[in-house]
């Protein structure tokens, strides 16, 4: 067998088929041994590229789109919400605005728990979330208008993430309206506000220290 013949045989060799004449050629041909070693190296290295977990925001975006397209039944929301807390890794940032928002959300939880019928729960929730919503809105207006970092991709990503979080705030608000006495629904609404506050705080930090 010559090198060209071995080349023709390579495909089946790599699949595990060993013809005696190919083995004999390999013993006497350094170039073909090198070729084979390289291909083996590539095959083994491929596996080392491995698999990677997608970031939680991918599912968040899929879920938001499914919701928007009406592809899911409404009753599914409760089982969906627990993963919401994983949407954004919380950055180690907290300005005065963020602190106010967190405190507001905490106080809201206490305040709302004192209501004892659906209508009052709803009213209480709305009364307590309105200032947070307003504060976040103002903060957002400021941060989005100041978003002019050099990296357009990062800016676009912030904008996109902001839209996703807004969708989820809307979804959580809808859930609270539907089941005003459900504490878990309210907790997730507060969580949603917190996530938005974190994101805005991160945008603020980026704005101050563009990289």
């Amino acid at each position: 067998m010559q090198c060209n013949d071995f080349r023709d045989h390579l495909l089946v060799w790599m699949e595990g088929e060993r013809a005696p004449e190919a083995e004999a050629h390999l013993r006497g041909c350094g170039n073909c041994r090198e070729l084979l070693a390289d291909l083996e190296e590539i095959r083994v290295s491929g596996r080392a590229l491995g698999e990677v977990e997608p970031p939680p925001r991918v599912w968040t975006a899929v879920r938001a789109q499914l919701e928007e397209e009406g592809l899911t039944r409404a009753r599914g929301w409760r089982t969906w919400l627990p993963s919401f807390g994983m949407i954004w890794p919380r950055p180690a940032v907290a300005g005065a605005t963020l602190a106010v928002l967190v405190a507001g959300a905490f106080l809201l939880g206490i305040e709302v728990r004192n209501y004892n019928n659906s209508q009052r729960w709803t009213q209480g929730t709305e009364a307590a979330t309105r200032p947070i919503d307003t504060n976040l809105g103002n903060f957002e207006l400021h941060e989005v208008s100041a978003l002019h970092g050099p990296n357009q991709a990062v800016n676009a990503s912030f904008q996109k993430n902001l839209q996703i979080v807004d969708k989820y705030i809307a979804m959580c608000e809808k859930s609270v309206r539907e089941e005003p006495e459900n504490e878990l629904a309210r907790d997730y609404l507060y969580g949603a506000y917190q996530q938005k506050a974190d994101l805005l705080a991160e945008m603020s930090e980026r704005g101050e220290n563009p990289q």
Partner: protein, 203 residues
Amino acid sequence: MPEAEAIRRAQQGDGAAFERIYQLHSRRVYSLCLRMVSNTAEAEDLTQEAFLQLFRKISSFRGESAFSTWLHRLSVNVVLMKLRKKRMPETSLEETTEPDEETGGPRRDFGVADLQLTGSVDRVNLQRAVDQLPPGYRAIFVLHDVQGYEHNEIAEIMGCSIGNSKSQLHKARMRLRELLHENMRNQAREQRQAVKSEAAGEG
């Protein structure tokens, strides 16, 4: 919730079932996208698109093929469509051209002694070379050598024959070898130039 139950419930629009299906398959789909486009933001978008298409079409899934095969076929199509839109050179699976003919690059004898790859192929170099493969080769290499699919599964995913899958994989590996060698030569040249510049600076 077992996969079959999740599929049945997702076909009825159950949100929790959608999430279960996503949990079961997202890692593989995202990794496929990431290895194909080598860009996390694009891979995220493609994963999102693949799952959205899946969930839009899930009511039509009748179980003629394995669910994961169906999902991966859909995912590969989403990625290839994206690459096509980016006007990257496309390779039909039925093409039997040699790698050198595809790229128009200088033909090299694969058997010629050169820098050896053994022990020198790290993930960065390999991914860089994979990025340079034509999309058809790239898909088969990723499915087989990275994700561990068998040729019969790849044939179903890619809509080709088993023989074609084997042959395309072989060509992909041969092309990767050339690319890795090229990259190694370039790196060696750059190092030599850097040493030369340094020496000139000192002198």
